[in-house]
């Protein structure tokens, strides 16, 4: 495979984690403008662990996911009863605080004669674990897609279980779910933590792919893009959000035809698509229809 294709496929995988994170919350009926914060928490904490403290990437990735889940719980607890725009704005406020926190974060140690670590708005360079350990871009791509496939597998298993039904129930009608004996608060907290960990996993992989991160990478654009991916791809199946990423990054950014016009094409496409299919390409109805056709 040529390098360009590998780069595009890697990006699709990386933003796939964010799209799935937004999708998980949408299933539970919550629209967050703030998932970029946990992507950032994963990127920063994972990068600091490998580049500054010399941890191996797998251990750093697990720790970063734990950090992402923890950060998501800290945001979720005070915002549990908020809905709609209130929830969206509270998560946005939290994410902007996290971004400014990254801007204020200055902590560098000398590694191999170079100061390494986050340097405020100057960013954090030298996250080189992947290169130093001789992981080829193709291998790294395979690792990303294997992890993504595992996440997709977990989603499929979850949607078939009682947990999946509970999740969609809470999303559709929290009061009804509560009256059926579901612990809505526990479901919501579990969803928040899982979505946070998922975003953080994307973040740590992103940091090690780019080797350089800066606070600007984690602004509202990233969060709302992820929401848009989930929504245009469709809320009926876990493949919907991935389709959304594929359309934007694969079709528009990947093919060089739309250079300079990508956002105009993508923006118009999304707006028109949502007019005819407000719950995305692969919405619940379509997924049911496909299942009936092939079973």
């Amino acid at each position: 495979m040529d390098d360009y294709l590998i780069g595009v496929l890697t990006n699709i995988g990386l933003f796939g984690f964010m799209a799935l994170s937004a999708y998980l919350l949408l299933l539970a009926g919550e629209m967050s403008f703030g998932q970029q914060a946990f992507f950032g928490v994963g990127a920063y904490s994972g990068g600091m662990l490998t580049a500054m403290l010399g941890w191996p990437l797998p251990a750093a990735a697990l720790a970063a996911m734990a950090m992402g889940a923890l950060a998501a719980l800290i945001v979720a607890l005070p915002t549990l009863r908020l809905r709609g725009l209130y929830f969206a704005m509270a998560t946005l406020a939290a994410a902007e605080m996290a971004r400014i926190g990254f801007e204020l974060l200055h902590w560098q140690v000398v590694v191999a004669g170079e100061p390494t670590g986050p340097d405020g708005t100057q960013g954090f360079r030298g996250i080189r674990w992947v290169f130093e350990n001789g992981v080829e871009p193709g291998t790294y791509l395979a690792i990303i897609w294997t992890l993504l496939a595992m996440v997709v597998g977990l989603f499929i298993a979850m949607e078939r279980s009682r947990l999946g039904a509970a999740l969609r129930g809470v999303g559709e009608d929290p009061e009804l779910s509560a009256s059926l004996g579901l612990n809505v608060i526990r479901v919501k907290l579990a969803v928040a933590a899982a979505a946070g960990a998922l975003a953080a996993l994307g973040g740590v992989l992103y940091a090690h792919h780019n080797t350089y991160i800066e606070p600007r990478n984690f602004d509202i654009m990233l969060g709302v893009h992820s929401l848009a991916y989930a929504l245009i791809g469709g809320l009926g199946t876990v493949f919907g959000p991935l389709l959304g990423v594929l359309v934007d990054i694969g079709l528009l950014e990947g093919s060089r035809v739309f250079q300079g016009y990508r956002m105009i094409v993508f923006g118009g496409l999304v707006a028109l698509l949502l007019m005819v299919r407000p719950r995305g390409l692969l919405d619940e109805g379509t997924v049911q229809w496909i299942k009936r056709r092939f079973s």
Binding site: L26, M31, P78, T79, R81, L82, G84, L85, Y86, A88, M89, A90, L92, A93, A94, E96, M97, I100, G101, E103, L104, I220, V224, L227, A228, L231, I232, G260, Y261, R262, M263, I264, F266, G267, G268, L269, V270, A271, L272, L274, M275, P278, R279
Partner: protein, 289 residues
């Protein structure tokens, strides 16, 4: 010490007046449609870009530039309304909001395609220096901004409470279904409200660009964020609340910038919003929000 406090308060009120202009437009749209228009800021940005373009190429005067700002913002607002809000009038609020985000991307790229530099000059409102009142400096722009915000609030009040269109709008705010059943054309109210809000946004964009003496693509996100912050702080969907929220935001920012610097200034504004949303005082969360 006391002088600093007073000077910061003056500066804060001036910034608050510009936020108030943005927040009033934002709140009009939210109050009537019950949907957040993320493209509101980018439409304002496009208006200012059109004016900056006219200024660069034809050297037009201030009045003409203000007209271009308002006209282009209304045009962009109408485009957003047609594509994002008219189709989802009875449907999903999330779909409408995501669609408005999609058009945000579009408007930003259009502006950057036509004018690719990072920054364009915008003519200042007054050529002379700031006014001096007993040791306090007051920029002429600040006075104009406060005056414009007051005039716009009065105009919106007059439209809402003294015209047939205003009566129809208030009926839609109360209950769009009941309004529809009593023969009010809800789509027409939507268009009217969007045009009014976009015109206010265009004026805000003109005054803000003239007082910064520059336009950048960041004006779009800046306006959307400040407008949302002020609207939420003042209680969602209430016009007087939006003005109070905007002035409070301006004052908070001016004082925290002076004592703590620009990064903590933004942090504190978001922290305040987060804490208030978490506590949920009654004025922040009206039952019909």
């Amino acid at each position: 010490m006391l002088a600093d406090l007073l000077q910061n308060t003056l500066d804060g009120l001036a910034a608050g007046a510009s936020y108030a202009l943005i927040a009033v437009g934002f709140t009009l749209i939210f109050g009537v449609l019950r949907r957040a228009n993320l493209s509101y800021g980018p439409a304002i940005m496009l208006g200012s870009y059109a004016a900056a373009f006219a200024f660069q190429n034809y050297g037009l005067g201030l009045i003409a530039l203000a007209g271009i700002c308002v006209f282009a913002s209304v045009l962009a607002g109408a485009y957003v309304e047609r594509l994002c809000f008219a189709p989802h009038r009875k449907g999903s609020a999330i779909a409408a909001m995501v669609a408005s985000f999609a058009l945000w991307m579009q408007l930003e790229e259009v502006a950057m395609l036509v004018m690719p530099k990072h920054l364009y000059a915008f003519p200042p409102l007054n050529q002379g220096g700031p006014l001096d009142f007993a040791g306090f400096t007051v920029r002429v722009e600040a006075l104009v901004m406060l005056g414009a915000a007051t005039a716009v609030c009065a105009l919106v009040w007059w439209i809402l409470y003294r015209t047939r269109f205003g009566l129809a709008t208030r009926a839609v705010i109360e209950s769009s279904r009941a309004a529809e059943l009593s023969g009010i054309s809800v789509p027409r109210v939507y268009i009217g409200v969007f045009a009014l809000a976009s015109a206010i946004g265009g004026l805000a964009g003109f005054l803000i660009s003239a007082s910064f003496e520059q336009v950048t693509p960041m004006l779009g996100m800046w306006s959307t964020l400040k407008g949302l912050l002020a609207m939420m702080l003042g209680g969602l969907g209430s016009l007087p609340g939006a003005v109070v929220g905007a002035l409070a935001l301006g004052l908070l920012e001016a004082h925290s910038q002076w004592y703590l610097g620009p990064q903590l200034r933004d942090l504190i504004a978001f922290l305040l919003l987060f804490v208030l949303l978490a506590i949920g005082p009654r004025w922040m969360t009206p039952s019909n929000g």
